[in-house]
Symmetry: C2
Amino acid sequence: MKAITLNSTQPSRLLLTEVQTRSLMPGEVRVLIKAAALNHRDEWCRQGRYPNIKDGVILGSDGAGIVSEIGEGVDYSILQKEVIINPALNWGDNQKVQSSSFEILGMPRNGTLAESVIVPVDRLFERPQHMSWEESAALPLAGLTAYRALTYQGNIQSGENLLVTGFGGGVAQFAVQFGMALGAKVSTSSSSPEKLEIAKSLGVLHTFNYLDHNWISKAVEETNGFDLIVDGAVGDTLNHLIQVAKPGGKVVYYGATLGNPTKLEARKIFWNQLKIIGTTMGSDQDFKNMVSLVNEKKIKPIIDQVFKFEDAEKAFDRMRDGKQTGKIVLVP
Amino acid sequence: MKAITLNSTQPSRLLLTEVQTRSLMPGEVRVLIKAAALNHRDEWCRQGRYPNIKDGVILGSDGAGIVSEIGEGVDYSILQKEVIINPALNWGDNQKVQSSSFEILGMPRNGTLAESVIVPVDRLFERPQHMSWEESAALPLAGLTAYRALTYQGNIQSGENLLVTGFGGGVAQFAVQFGMALGAKVSTSSSSPEKLEIAKSLGVLHTFNYLDHNWISKAVEETNGFDLIVDGAVGDTLNHLIQVAKPGGKVVYYGATLGNPTKLEARKIFWNQLKIIGTTMGSDQDFKNMVSLVNEKKIKPIIDQVFKFEDAEKAFDRMRDGKQTGKIVLVP
């Protein structure tokens, strides 16, 4: 089958190539991919930014498709079902944190950027019927991360003020959509006026361009501060978030694209009783709850652009450059 | 009456002097002080480290004594009662955080380092009968702070691993004692072998000298990491705490004697789903619950040393130099 593999000898570090499929183990299924989607993680795998990156592995955590083959012990009724895949493997039973054997589909295990993928059957969920294949593929990893950030970690309540930073990124778009679905008063920030216009068209109440030198005072004035802030950047901007948090508020972050802060206003955090909370992906329970919310509220992921597998480099470059608003999708 | 006031013209910045008392407002009571106790806050007031520090104010947040006079509208039955004082004024109804009119007894409002103090009647609690006057005076501010850090913020559960840093300080001693009373497996750290010996004699399971270059690996090896860490130092040692926290664990801090961190291991925080939580003092509900625990478990504060008002400078210097193990008490 054709698949997009990591290959450090290529200028693009990607190679669309023929890959031998293996036979199924007990409890596994083969899913024919109808659409797959990119996450920052895929780009970071391409850049070799994680430990234990291996050439030859098929990238991709997000996928949707049709079950074409089942391994020993799997119920026949799943055959030909249209499914999405939960890319979080071996989370374990602890809702607080993943187990030490936790793994994400798409490195080191072969992922979804292929004509088919093999996963344990318990990773499958029925595809949301109100979504296209492209939308279905866009949901899993970023949707799960956003959902856990808002609910298990952020404990968002209806009527609370929510700020989602960096609108345009996959997790940010879901955090905005889920936040609205859960009754929060949603604000978002970006450096792009175009992205902020899209956010407004979705129903976001307040938008802030963080290049604007007075966005902090403007945010406090317009909203009276945020009960919850969902962020993926950190770096020294964490101190800005501390300033726009309402006393007693939370900053939940799922990534640190700007790296470590070089300072932290420690006294403001304790005097204002703030919480800085790290989060990543989510448990099986989080995934199940997220899919329920999406189905109940008929939420559709925002698709930025759809690429063919042959154009994988363009898709990855768009992710690297942060040009997207919504998810970047790839189809075989 | 005699009182210890802030006076920046004195070399010690303290003046034991005769102060005119005022008459009571409706809802207020006068408490004759039997014993008062110091907190870091008093030393920081002496050093002028807060905004709006005023000469002439009577210092002191902690006190215990006997109600000698009541204002209009106060029930007679409180007269002659032996009481402790909750030094947190106007917290408000929000359990998450204090209101904007929150105030701490002892600056700018006259405090407990005097022959008597005037407070609203709702700040009074019956003195725990198993304690001496000195022990009673030692409880309020630090006990409240430790209790909220462990319970409302830290949500400590029986059987969990708790690390309290900086044993010897007032909040730290209560966090150790309350942690044990709540069923946690308690460890503590200090730079002083003598203080760690005292901790062991109290029943602390593991002690760590943080000057020991391998205390972090030792702590992880002996305990498998901490579910909750209660800290008052922060600074760059926050990164050490992040290393000894169990995945999914919390660091709750109530002060930052080492100032702001100059770095923060942001990725470790999100990958391990850690929470960094700021806390200060506590609500009326926290105070009430804390007093209940203390009475139920017959917990007695550790008293470091008792000074007369005439020796206030020595008492403050001991606090400044961090030589104490337990609370420093002053008696009129």
